[in-house]
C-alpha cells in the first residue's frame, strides 16, 4: 500500500484562500482517484503561503481490471444504429460478438478495461485538478496558458512504499513533476529532495517552514500571550486575524512593540482597528486600565539582531498611521464639541438612494418615526427623536470616512463629547443592531426606538420604490433589516400593528421622485417630440401628472406633493399601491419570521396556521400564538386533537359539498342519542366558556389547553357515533355538532394548515 505526497509550490497565495484551496485539493484528487478505481486509507491537506500539500496514505497500487458486457442492436439493424453503439462502447465492429437472444440474433460488446497502475491514474487526476482548480480568482503568467492563483513553480509528486520512493511522472504546461521542494524564501532557499510526509515535514522545519497552519497559529498565539504576560498585559483575542496572519508566514516570529505615548489617548477601538486593518497587528491591552498599550506583529523572518530592525520599522509605520488617526480624531472632536452641526448639514449632500432622497431627508423621517414608536417601547419620544437626528452624524466625520467599520461607535464618542444625554449617545452606537442573527439586540428603550425606525424606514422605502430583494440578490440587506425588526420587536415588546404603519410609511415615501419615475415614459415622449407640452396640458391626463411633467421639464418649481396626493386620481392610485406594497412587505416579514422560528424549532406549518389568523401583523401576538400551538401539538392530546379536528373537518367538507349547504349552526342537544354525543356537547360548551375569554385576553396557552381537552370527547364521539345516520335529522344535527368543533378549533389557529 503506497503513500502519496503532492506539493504544488507557487508564488505567494492570498492568505484568505489557502484553507479552502487545501480542502479543494484534497477533495478533487481523492474523488478523482476513487472514481478511477483506487481506494485509500486517509488523506490530509496542508497550506503555507507558498505551497498546497496533499498526503494520501494507504493507496491501492493499481485499479482492478473491469469486464463489462453491453447489449447492442439486432443483427441487421441499420448501420447508423450499429455505429452509434460502437462509439458508445468504444469497440470496433469486428470485436462485436453475435449472440442468440429471445427475439433473434443480437450484437454484444465485451469491454475489457485492464487494471491501471496507481502512478498512471495519479498523473492523470493531478493534471486535471491543476488545470481546473476552483480558485476564486486565477491568472496566467509569462507565455503560458495555465491558470493558477499566482505563478506555479514546481510540482512534487511521489509515491512511497517499502521498496522506496518514486516520482510520479507528469507535466503540466512545462512544469515537470519531481521529488524536490524549497524551504523559506530567505532563510533556506535551496532545493532538497523528499521521500515521504514525515521526511517532508521534518526537512521543511529544518528549512524554516512550519507546514501546518494550525501549528503556526498556535505558535503565534502562545508566543504572543507569553510575551504579553511577562509584562502583565494581555493580547486581545481575534481569531480571524490569527488565521489570516498564520497564512502570511511560513516561519512565524512574534515581536512585541510599543505604541507611542502620543497615541494612547485615542479610543481603544480606533487603535485596534487601525492596527488590524492596515498592519495586521494584534492589540495588547493593560487589564488594569483596559487601554491598548502595545502591539504584536508577526514577522516571517529571523534576523541577526533578533528582529530589532523589523520591529523598529513596524513601529515607525504604525506611528505614521496613528498620526493620521489622531489628526482625524482631534479634528472630529472640535466639530463634536461644537454640536456636530456641520456634519448634519453635510449629510444633505450625501445621497441615500436617488429615489429616496439624501441622508438628511432620511434622518428627518427616522426621527419622526422614532418619536411615534417611542411610547410603545417605553422610550421618551423627545429623546428618541433627538437620538435619531444625531445617530448618523458620524458618517460625515473624518474617522468614519477612514474607517467605515467604526460607524456608530464613533457616533457614541462624539455624541458624548457634544454633551448629549447618555441614552442618545448609546443610541448612536446601538441603532445599527442587530446586524446578524446572533448579534446582540439593544435593550435601552431609546436605542430600540431608533433602531426600529431606521430599519422600518429602510424597508418601507425600498418597497415604495420597488427595489425588493429577489433570489440571492439583496443589495440593500433588506432581509437582514427585516430580521432585525423581528428580533427587536420580540425581545423588547410591542410596536403594535405593522400593517397600518407600513401603509402610511410606504405612502409617505411615494412622493416627488417616485411619482416622477412613474411618468417617465410620458416625459420621454415629450422629449423625443412624440408629444408636445401643449398637447399634454390640453389632454385629459390627471392633473398631478400634468404638473409633474411640467416640473420634470423644469418649467416650474414648488409642487405641493401632499396636497396633490390627497386630491387627485394619481393620489388615489398611490394610496392603493401603498396598500398592496404594505401587504407584500408583511408577507416578506412572515417569510423571515418563518426562517427565524424554524431555527428555534417551530415548524413552518405551525407558523402558517397562525399567520392565517387575523391580527397577523402583530409579531408579538403571532409568535405567542405559534409558541402556544407548538407546545400544544407536542402533547399527546394536542397531536390527537389534530386528527379529530381533521376528521371532523373532512366529513363536514364532504357533506357540505354533497348537500350544497353550510353546516354551521343549530346543533341541539335534544337530538343527541348517545352518551358520547351528549358528552361532546357538554365538552364543547365547557371549552367555549374557557377559550373565548382566553382568546380575548390573548392567553393562547390557556385557549389551546382548553382546546386540547376536547381530544377525549371527540375521540369517544367518533368511536361510538355514526355521523351519517339514516335519520336525516340526526345526521344534520351531528354535522352541525362537527361544525362547532371546527369553529372552536379555527378560532385558535387555522389547524387545516397543520401537516401530518
Amino acid at each position: 500500500m503506497p503513500d502519496l505526497l503532492i506539493e504544488l509550490f507557487s508564488e505567494e497565495i492570498p492568505a484568505r484562500m489557502q484553507t479552502r484551496a487545501a480542502d479543494d485539493l484534497r477533495k478533487l484528487v481523492t474523488d478523482g482517484l476513487v472514481e478511477a478505481g483506487l481506494t485509500y486509507a486517509s488523506a490530509a491537506a496542508f497550506s503555507t503561503p507558498r505551497r498546497l500539500t496533499l498526503s494520501i496514505d494507504g493507496l491501492t497500487g493499481e485499479s482492478q481490471a473491469v469486464r463489462e458486457e453491453r447489449k447492442g442492436p439486432k443483427v441487421g439493424a441499420p448501420d447508423q444504429a450499429i455505429d452509434g453503439f460502437l462509439r458508445g462502447a468504444g469497440v470496433a465492429r469486428e470485436d462485436l460478438e453475435v449472440r442468440d437472444d429471445k427475439k433473434g440474433q443480437v450484437y454484444f460488446a465485451v469491454i475489457e478495461k485492464p487494471g491501471r497502475l496507481a502512478a498512471e491514474i495519479i498523473a492523470e487526476v493531478l493534471e486535471k485538478t491543476v488545470r481546473n482548480f476552483p480558485w476564486p480568482k486565477a491568472m496566467r503568467w509569462g507565455e503560458g496558458s495555465l491558470k493558477w492563483v499566482r505563478p506555479l513553480h514546481s510540482i512534487l509528486c511521489i509515491l512511497t512504499d517499502e521498496a522506496g520512493t518514486e516520482v510520479v511522472p507528469l507535466d503540466v504546461d512545462g512544469i515537470a513533476s519531481g521529488n524536490t521542494t524549497q524551504g523559506h524564501r530567505f532563510l533556506a532557499p535551496d532545493a532538497f529532495s523528499i521521500t515521504n510526509l514525515d521526511d517532508y515535514e521534518t526537512k521543511l522545519k529544518r528549512a524554516n517552514v512550519v507546514l501546518r497552519a494550525d501549528e503556526r497559529a498556535e505558535a503565534i498565539w502562545n508566543e504572543a500571550t507569553t510575551q504579553a504576560f511577562a509584562l502583565g498585559l494581555e493580547v486581545v483575542e481575534d481569531r480571524g486575524l490569527l488565521a489570516e496572519v498564520a497564512g502570511l508566514v511560513e516561519w512565524p516570529v512574534v515581536l512585541l512593540g510599543k505604541i507611542d505615548d502620543d497615541f494612547l489617548g485615542l479610543p481603544p477601538e480606533v487603535l485596534q482597528t487601525s492596527m488590524k486593518e492596515h498592519q495586521k497587528f494584534f492589540s495588547v491591552r493593560n487589564p488594569k486600565t483596559g487601554r491598548i498599550e502595545r502591539f504584536v506583529t508577526v514577522a516571517n523572518m529571523e534576523t541577526a539582531d533578533q528582529g530589532a530592525t523589523i520591529l523598529a520599522g513596524n513601529q515607525k509605520v504604525l506611528s505614521a498611521r496613528l498620526a493620521d488617526a489622531k489628526f482625524f480624531w482631534e479634528n472630529d472632536l472640535r466639530v463634536a464639541k461644537a454640536g456636530m452641526q456641520p456634519w448634519l448639514d453635510s449629510l444633505s449632500n450625501v445621497t441615500f438612494h436617488n429615489k429616496l432622497g439624501s441622508q438628511k431627508d432620511r434622518i428627518e423621517r427616522i426621527a419622526a418615526l422614532a418619536r411615534e414608536i417611542a411610547p410603545s417601547v417605553g422610550a421618551d419620544p423627545d429623546l428618541a427623536a433627538q437620538a435619531a437626528k444625531v445617530a448618523k452624524a458620524d458618517l460625515s466625520s473624518e474617522m468614519v470616512y477612514e474607517f467605515p467599520e467604526l460607524q456608530g461607535l464613533m457616533g457614541r464618542y462624539y455624541a458624548t463629547e457634544a454633551g448629549l444625554p447618555s441614552e442618545v449617545a448609546a443610541a448612536c452606537e446601538e441603532h445599527y443592531s442587530p446586524l446578524g442573527p446572533s448579534d446582540d439586540v439593544p435593550t435601552a428603550p431609546v436605542s430600540v426606538a431608533v433602531a426600529l425606525a431606521d430599519k422600518i424606514d429602510t424597508l418601507t422605502g425600498f418597497w415604495a420604490i420597488d427595489e425588493k430583494p429577489t433570489g440571492s440578490k439583496d443589495p440593500f440587506a433588506l432581509r437582514r433589516a427585516a430580521l432585525g425588526v423581528i428580533r427587536l420587536v420580540l425581545e423588547n415588546g410591542n410596536v403594535g400593528n405593522l400593517d397600518s404603519l407600513f401603509r402610511r410609511w410606504i405612502y409617505g415615501h411615494m412622493d416627488g421622485e417616485a411619482i416622477l419615475s412613474s411618468i417617465n415614459p410620458i416625459i420621454a415622449e415629450i422629449n423625443n417630440g412624440a408629444a408636445s407640452l401643449a398637447a399634454i396640458s390640453a389632454s385629459d391626463l390627471p392633473p398631478l401628472q400634468k404638473v409633474a411633467i411640467v416640473k420634470a421639464q423644469k418649467l416650474t418649481a414648488d409642487l405641493n406633493i401632499s396636497e396633490i396626493k390627497s386630491k387627485t386620481e394619481l393620489g388615489r392610485r398611490i394610496l392603493a399601491t401603498s396598500e398592496i406594497e404594505a401587504n407584500n412587505l408583511l408577507s416578506f416579514f412572515h417569510d423571515r419570521l418563518k426562517v427565524f422560528l424554524r431555527d428555534k424549532g417551530i415548524r413552518h406549518d405551525i407558523i402558517d396556521a397562525c399567520i392565517a389568523m387575523p391580527g397577523n401583523d402583530d409579531l408579538t401576538l403571532l409568535v405567542k400564538r405559534a409558541e402556544a400551538l407548538a407546545e400544544t401539538l407536542a402533547t399527546d392530546d394536542g397531536e390527537n386533537l389534530i386528527q379529530g379536528f381533521k376528521r371532523a373537518n373532512n366529513i363536514l367538507t364532504q357533506a357540505e359539498a354533497k348537500d350544497g349547504v353550510e353546516y354551521s349552526y343549530g346543533a341541539d342537544i335534544k337530538f343527541a342519542e348517545d352518551d358520547a354525543e351528549r358528552a361532546l356537547f357538554a365538552a364543547l360548551d365547557a371549552a367555549n366558556a374557557k377559550i373565548a375569554p382566553a382568546m380575548k385576553a390573548e392567553d393562547f396557552s390557556a385557549a389551546m389547553t382548553a382546546m386540547a381537552a376536547l381530544r377525549a370527547p371527540i375521540d369517544a364521539f367518533f368511536t361510538d357515533v355514526q355521523v351519517n345516520a339514516d335519520s336525516e335529522i340526526l345526521r344534520r344535527n351531528r354535522l352541525n355538532l362537527l361544525s362547532r368543533i371546527r369553529n372552536i378549533c379555527l378560532s385558535v389557529a387555522d389547524l387545516t394548515k397543520i401537516e401530518g
Binding site: P49, W141, H153, A304, A320
Partner: protein
Amino acid sequence: MADKPRSFQEIILRLQTYWAAKGCAILQPYDMEVGAGTFHPATTLRALGTKPWAAAYVQPSRRPTDGRYGENPNRLQHYYQYQVLIKPSPPDMQDLYLGSLKAIGIDASMHDIRFVEDDWESPTLGAWGLGWEVWCDGMEVSQFTYFQQVGGHDCKPVSGELTYGLERLAMYVLDVDHVMDMPFNDPDAPIALTYGDVFLQTEQEYARWNFDIADTDVLLQHFVDAEAECQRILDAPADDPKTGRKIIMAHPAYDQCIKASHVFNLLDARGVISVTERQAYIGRVRTLAKACADAFVQTEAGGAA
C-alpha cells in the same frame, strides 16, 4: 553598493542602474500629466500584443486630490513613481524585484519582506491584474502585478509590472519622517537641496490651484475636446494619402485619452463631480482607453503582422 544610499536621487540612480543591468530599456518620463506610471504608453500600450518588451522609467505623477500644501509628511499632489514592465513576465520576476531592493540598500536578511495579496484594477484603463503589495517591515514599498487585461484586451503573453512609490520608499530607506526634509541630492554637496527646497512651494501653488482656482468650465471643455479629438484621430482612415503608407495613430489618440483622464482628476479635486457623474466620467475615459488599445493592436508595435 551594499552601503546605504544617501539621497533621493541616489535611490533613483541605483534603480536605473540595476534595471539597466537586468536588460531593461531605461526610458524617460512621458511628457504629459498622468495619475500614475501605468499611464505611460510604455506600460499601457506595450503590455498589449505579442511583442516582447522590457522597460523601466521614472514617471512624475499627479493626483490633485492628494495635495496637502506640502504639510502632510507623505501626501503630495505631485510625486514620482518608478515603473518596470517586462513582457513576458520572467519566471524569476520576484527574485529580480528582491534584487532591486538590495540595490537600494534593503538587505533581505535584516528585514521582513512579504508579498501580501493585492489585486490591481484600473477602471479608467479597463485593466486588471493579480499580484501583491510588497511589505518591508510592515510598510508597503511596491506594487507587483501580473497584467491580465488592458483596455479590455487579454494580455498574451502576460506582462509583469512593478511600481515603486519613490518618495515613500526613499523616506524609509533614508530614515526621514517628513518628505520635505528628505535630502534630494548628496547632503554633503556644496549646494545641498532637500525635497522641500525643490517641491514645497510648488505643492502649495498647485494645491491652491487644484482645489480653488482651476477654471472648471474651461476644464469641462478640455475634457470634451480631448474626448472628441481622440475619437477623430481614431476615425481617420488608416491609409495616409501623403506617404502612401498605412499609419494608425494609436499614440496620438492615446495622448488625448491621458489628457481626458487628467482633466477628470482636476475636476474631481475641484469637487464639481457628483457621485453618479463620477462613474459616467470614468466610463467615458475607459471607452477612449479601449478604443486606443483596439487601435494599437492593429499596429506593428502592437504585434499586428
